[in-house]
Every structure is written in C-alpha cells, then in structure tokens.
Amino acid sequence: MKKRPPWVGPLVALLLVYALFAALTPDTFLRSQNLLTMARQTVVVGICAVGMTLVIATGGIDLSTGSLVAFTTVVLAKLLRAGVPALPAALVAAAAAGLVGALVGTLVGRARMVPFVVTLGTMSALRGAAKGLASEQKIDADPRGLDALLSADLAAPGLWVTAALAILVFAVLLFTRFGRHVFAVGSNEAAARLCGIDTGRVKIAVYTLSSLLAGVAGVMEFATLTVGDPTDSIGLELEVIAAVVIGGAPLSGGEGSVAGSVIGALLITVIRTGGVHLGLPSWVQEIATGAIIVVAVAVDRVRRARGARAAAG
C-alpha cells in the first residue's frame, strides 16, 4: 500500500493558486523578476518553517521564532558595528540564537515544561532583550557585503543556502536515526521512552536546531533590511506555523515533511504577492488569504479522505 507523500496536496494547491494569479495578471506575475522576488520573500519564512517542522514533528510548538529573528538581526548589527567581519558576525549571531534554543530545549526536554508556555515566555523575553540591546532603536550597520546574500538575481547565495538547509534537514529526517527519533517522540513519547530513547535529548537537539535555523533566517532578514530591528518580525511565528500546518503536519506531532513546509511557505508568499499584482485592496487580500488557507487545507483533506477510500475500493 504505497502512500502518496503528504506534500502532494499542498503542491497541487500551490500550483493552482499560482496558475490563477498567472492567468489574471500574466504580464507582471509571470516575469522571472517576480519569481525571484517571491523566492527571496520566502527565504525567511521558509528557513524558519524548516526548523519548525522539526519542532512540530516532536509534538511541540515554538512561538519565539519572530522574536528570535529580530534578536538575531540586532546581535548581528551590533557585531558589525563593533567591526567584526561579516562571516564571523553572522555565525556568532546565528549561534546566539541556537544557544537560546538550547535553553528552551532544556526547559522542554529536561524540566518537561509545556513548549507553548516556555516559548511564549521566550517570545516576550527575547523581544525585550532585543529592544534593550538595541537601546530601543533600529541599529544601522554597514552590512559589509551581507546584503549581497539576497541580491536580486538567481545567484543570490541566500536562495541556495535556503535550499541547501532544507535538503539537509529533509535528509536528516528521512535517513538518520535522529530523524526517526524525532517522529517517535512526537508520535508517542511514552513508547519512545520505553524503547530507551532519551526523549529529553531529542527535544533539546530539535529546539537547538530550529533556533539555529531561525538564527540563519535572522541573518537573511538582516541581509534584506540591513538594520538590526528589535521590532521586526512580530507575528512571524504564526506565519511559519501556518506554513508547516498547510504543508501537512498536524500540530499533534508525529508527522511533517520539510518539502510540505517549504511548499506551505511558498503558497503564503504567492497568495500575498498575487494580491499585490492584482491590485487588490489589502483588506480583500486578507480575506482571500484566509479563504485560500482554509480551502487549500479542506481540499487536501477531502482528497486524502477520498484517496484513502479509493485506495480502499
């Protein structure tokens, strides 16, 4: 009984929505420039969604993503202003984010606290820390070439880094023991523990990894903004979680696919960009976005249910 991968549904939705906008505004929407722009606009949500896939696969959730991205841009800007060269500064900033993730993971994995609460607290605390660190201002810093990360062409290294990270995590989930353990923890934590898996360690690793990815996303965000902005990315976490859920992962854990999450992130970007190209008022776009999210997932549900029955028949 070969199963269709979970990301097929979202992919179909993505293609349909894309085709819709392409048909409505062919002269602007189909430009290669627009494709590139959409790709660049998906980078931050996409990278975060890859990390969030891990978290949600363990049955957790991370509400601190937006704050973490903002925090990273501030740390990075501070480092650049202090004269640290671009690459080490970016690495240190991402590592700082990873460190926060390790702390969150320890609270979730060892102290067995609820991820929602821990990351809700972290969300607020990190936002405050970012503002404090930035003296409540945007921090202007010479990007020292980091802005080329997301240059406006296909050679933009940021795009390739994103793709590489997604493929890496995809492979880790699919081909390594750790990947199996991630799903095991989310599917039935008691069973995982019974099998001798150190579920706490798995969670620490997952939150560290996903925060590290949020850190990388923060570097990308800085590459776009070229300032460290403590008020950046408010609400980003919901968008990221939406991407993962649209990509087919249930919040109850035990499932999820990197491919699906990336497709979910792309779908959100396409809807948003398409709205701009159509010249729809913002409020119409918001209504459309909401409707499309619900319909996309509903269609996927129906399709899957029918698939199960058809496969059954």
Binding site: F175, T176, R177, H181, N188, A192, G254, A312, G313
Partner: protein, 512 residues
C-alpha cells in the same frame, strides 16, 4: 435449541475492504436471541471489523444486516445504541481525564433538571457503582472518583465493560434493556477471577434474554460459556456449530485452515500432563548461567512493596499475581522507567534490558507510524537508516512472526489488535537485548501465535537470554517458565521451580 428460533441478528453476505485488502469477504451469521455466540478467528481475520460494522463505526461495502427482523444499517454508535446494540471494543477507549463515574455514564448522564441539562451526580454515582459491582468481585478496587487514566489496564477494562452495561440500559434488577451486547476480547487483560465473574454476569444476562456476540481467543471460555460459535478465516465463515459438541482441534483447524502442529501451543486448552512434562524437561538445562539482573528489596511509589529476585542467563522467571498486585510496576522499575523508592537493582547485561508493555496503545507502539518504523525504533539502531533498509527489516519480521499486514509501510494503528501485539514483540526481539521483561505478551493474540510466541521465548532463553514473564494466564506461566514467583499485594515471594506449581496452587498462593 437456539438455531430453531428466529434469529435476533442476521448478517448476510457482508463485505468490507480497507484499501485493496478485503477484510470481510462474504460473512453470514445468525445470532439467536438469549444466546452467547462466540466469534473466533486468527489475528486479522476480521472479527473486530465485523463488530465495528455492527456498531456503525464502519460502513460495510456490501451485504445486509437484520436486527430483530428489521433492516439495520447504523451510521453511528448512537444509532446502534438506540437500536439496542452496545460494544466493548478491543482497544481501550476511555476518557483518561474523566473520573470513573463520568466515564461510565458518558452519553447517558442522569439529569437532575432535564431542561437545563444539569447532571444528577448522586444518581450517576449509583449507576456507576452498580455497573462496576456487576463486573468485579472486588468493586472497592476501582475508585469511583479516580481519573480513568490513572487506573491499571485491567481496571480500565473493567470500567469499559461496566460502561457498556450501563449504556445498554442496566436496570435496578440487573437486567439490560439492550438486545445485543458485543464483547471484543473482554477478558484479554482480566485476571482469572474477574473473568469468571464476568462470564457469570454474561450468562445471567443471556438467561434474561440478551444476545451476546463474544470475540475471544480463549477456546476454553468458548467451550465453557458459548452456545454457538462461528469461526472466521480470511474474512469468510470457515465453520460454525455448538462448541460443546465440537473438538477444540476441529475449531482450531477451521480457524487456521490447518491443524495446530505444536501441541503445547494449545496452552489455552489447559495444559495436559504430557505438555507440562515437556516444558519441564526442556527447562532442565544446565543451571547456573551467569547472573544478569539482581534486585534487592525493591519498592516503588505504590507497589511493589518489597521484591527481590536474581535472574540468570538462559532462564525464564515467571511472576504470578492478581491484578493490581504490582507486577507491571515491578517490571517498569526494573526497566528503569518508573522511580524506585527503595532497594537496589544491579544490571550486568552488556546488551541492555528491554520491556514489552502491557499497554500497547498507550506506550507500546507509535500507532500513527509505519510497522517498519515501530519495529526499527531503538537508540541502538545504526546512525543512518535508509528507508529501504527499514522496509526490508520490517518485511523480515512480518514473515518471521506471521504478522498480517498490508506491508511494512502500513500504519500500525490500522492493524488488528493481535497483529499490533506481534509488532511490539518484533521490536523487542529485534533489539536483541540480554534481559527481556515481558508483560502479558500473549494478550489478544490467537492460539497459533500464542504457541509461537511462547516457543520463541523458550528459544531465546536457550540462546542465553534472561527473561521475566508476567502473565495473567497461569497455564502459560506453568508451561513456559523455569521458576515462578508469586507477587502478593506488593511482596514478591522467593521463586520455586515451575514443576512444583500447578495452576491451582498458583492461584491459591496469589490470592491467599
């Protein structure tokens, strides 16, 4: 006598498939009113599926059902209940967060003010107490205000049966308003005394006019209590008759499509003198294998109170005890899963220790993941795992344990209860640990598989593993173990050779 009367339930040509796999092909069945009708069959034969169709939880693809002569095609459990059909499902379905009382009266809450929907708590309590009193000899054992999730598996099973009785319209005089009670392996996790009590009740209900469809793997119970049986094989009816007039071997042949070649395997049909002798002679292997596990004065949070044991390579140590005596907790402490209050545990096993849980849905298996992944799951697995190799491994175990599944990719949650149990066993075997703690390993598996699993345990012991076996099937302990110790209200007596025990003496010792 039953066959002559107009049947209460008449199933004709029922078919049901999941995906490409037909589960029920062409099942026809007549259940007479006021009778106990046993439904038998191998794991995965389709018994539970049939039960679920009767309850409106699955839709049949073809066929017709008549209940009391009228067409019956329920779309939900609620509709089935209104037609007078209630079910005790095979897998535990309680609301873990609700109290025992709330679980028993769920959906039939007595109301103090019907218009406002305000519950009548004292009446709910009375209903729950009465229902539980019907199913256990020791009703005090099940605290009415405890959350269902805090109960042991056996007590949960009792609550579930009580719930079905209550929902079937239990009346003051102990009679049921329901017409058909479907019991899917109600005794698989009950101790002997509870099972006896349950069957007393079921017979009384039968005598009061209720029809009972009983799914079970215990042929002895079928012979002792059922009026008729139907054997399913591969989704078809393979035989039926009066169990008292049919040879057990004949029934087994109908179920399996072949004879059971290993006689010891009919453990269930009460160990005969010869088989006992066989087991003992087998156990008479060179004694004094190296000690791998030594526990001294172990106590847990609640149970056990005091348990000491020494386990050597090559032996199977049985632990007998009543439900709630703390057997499961002892195993969990030995495995390091539950906190130890006192005492010492010394493990000298380079390959480690593994536990087979009695609660396969709760903590034994990842129901949402594939069979292959479940079998493969282990911290000692290789660091890299190609999906292909997982599947090969899964396929190997499907063959080795004759697991009935669509393939290694199938979700474990879609397997029949007995086949899920086999997946759990496969996982433990694959891990290849030195010390195996097995808690009710034969729960819900069919006669043939039961024989196979017990034989496997003996084989493993011969190969140098050390095994602790907990089972509520005393015959299983007597035929399989080398030594048996009795756990009584949390205190473990020193073990004695299995040959010095009989089922009766074990039962006497455990309940003294």
């Amino acid at each position: 006598m039953g066959g002559e009367r107009a049947p209460l339930l008449e199933v004709t040509g029922l078919a049901k498939a999941f995906g490409p796999n037909p589960v029920l092909r062409d099942v026809s069945l007549r259940v007479a009113p006021a009778s106990i009708h046993a439904l038998l069959g191998e794991n995965g034969a389709g018994k539970s599926t049939l039960a679920r169709v009767l309850l409106g939880m699955e839709r049949a693809d073809a066929g017709a059902i008549l209940l009391g002569g009228a067409r019956y095609a329920p779309a939900s459990a609620e509709e089935a209940r209104r037609a007078g059909v209630v079910l005790v499902p095979q897998e535990r379905t309680l609301c873990a967060h609700l109290t025992v009382v709330d679980n028993v009266v769920l959906g039939i809450e007595p109301l103090a003010r019907a218009r406002l929907g305000i519950r009548d708590r004292s009446r709910a309590r009375a209903v729950a107490r009465a229902a539980i009193a019907l199913v256990t000899a020791d009703p005090g054992r099940v605290p009415l205000d405890a959350r269902a999730g805090e109960l042991g598996v056996a007590d949960q099973q009792l609550v579930e049966i009580a719930r079905a009785l209550a929902q079937g319209g239990l009346r003051e005089d102990g009679r049921l308003a329901a017409r058909l009670l479907v019991l899917d392996e109600p005794t698989s996790s009950l101790g002997r005394s509870d099972a006896v009590r349950l069957f007393e009740r079921v017979r009384a209900l039968r005598d009061a006019g209720l029809a009972v469809l009983l799914v079970t793997h215990f042929l002895s119970d079928v012979r002792a209590h059922a009026d008729r049986y139907t054997a399913l094989r591969d989704g078809r009816v393979a035989g039926e008759g009066d169990p008292r007039e049919t040879e057990p071997a004949q029934i087994v042949r109908e179920m399996l499509g072949r004879a059971l070649n290993d006689t010891r395997a009919s453990a269930d049909t009460r160990a005969s003198a010869e088989t006992r002798a066989g087991a003992v002679s087998e156990a008479a292997r060179p004694d004094g294998g190296e000690v791998v596990l030594e526990a001294e004065g172990v106590s847990g949070v609640k149970r056990p109170k005091r348990a000491s044991l020494t386990l050597r390579r090559g032996e199977i140590l049985g632990i007998a005890g009543l439900v709630g005596s703390g057997r499961t907790e002892l195993l969990r402490i030995l495995a390091g899963l539950d906190p130890r209050r006192g005492g010492t545990v010394a493990l000298r096993a380079p390959r480690g220790i593994g536990l087979l849980s009695e609660d396969r849905g709760g903590e034994g298996l990842m129901l949402g993941r594939s069979l292959a992944e479940n079998v493969w799951l282990s911290p000692r697995a290789p660091r890299f795992a190609r999906p292909r190799s997982l599947l090969t491994e899964g396929a190997r175990w499907i063959e080795r344990l004759a697991i009935r599944a669509g393939g290694p990719e199938q979700r474990v949650g879609e397997l029949s209860g007995g086949n899920q149990q086999k997946v759990q066993i496969a996982r433990l075997l694959r891990e290849d640990v030195d010390v195996l703690l097995v808690d009710e390993p034969t729960r819900g598996i069919d006669v043939a598989s039961k024989a196979q699993v017990l034989a496997l345990l003996r084989e493993l012991a011969r190969a140098g593993k050390a095994i602790v076996l907990v089972s509520s099937q005393l015959d299983e302990l007597v035929t399989t173990c080398d030594r048996i110790a009795v756990l009584r209200r949390g205190t473990l007596d020193p073990p004695r050779p299995a040959s010095s025990w009989t089922e009766a003496s074990l039962l006497l010792e455990a309940s003294s």
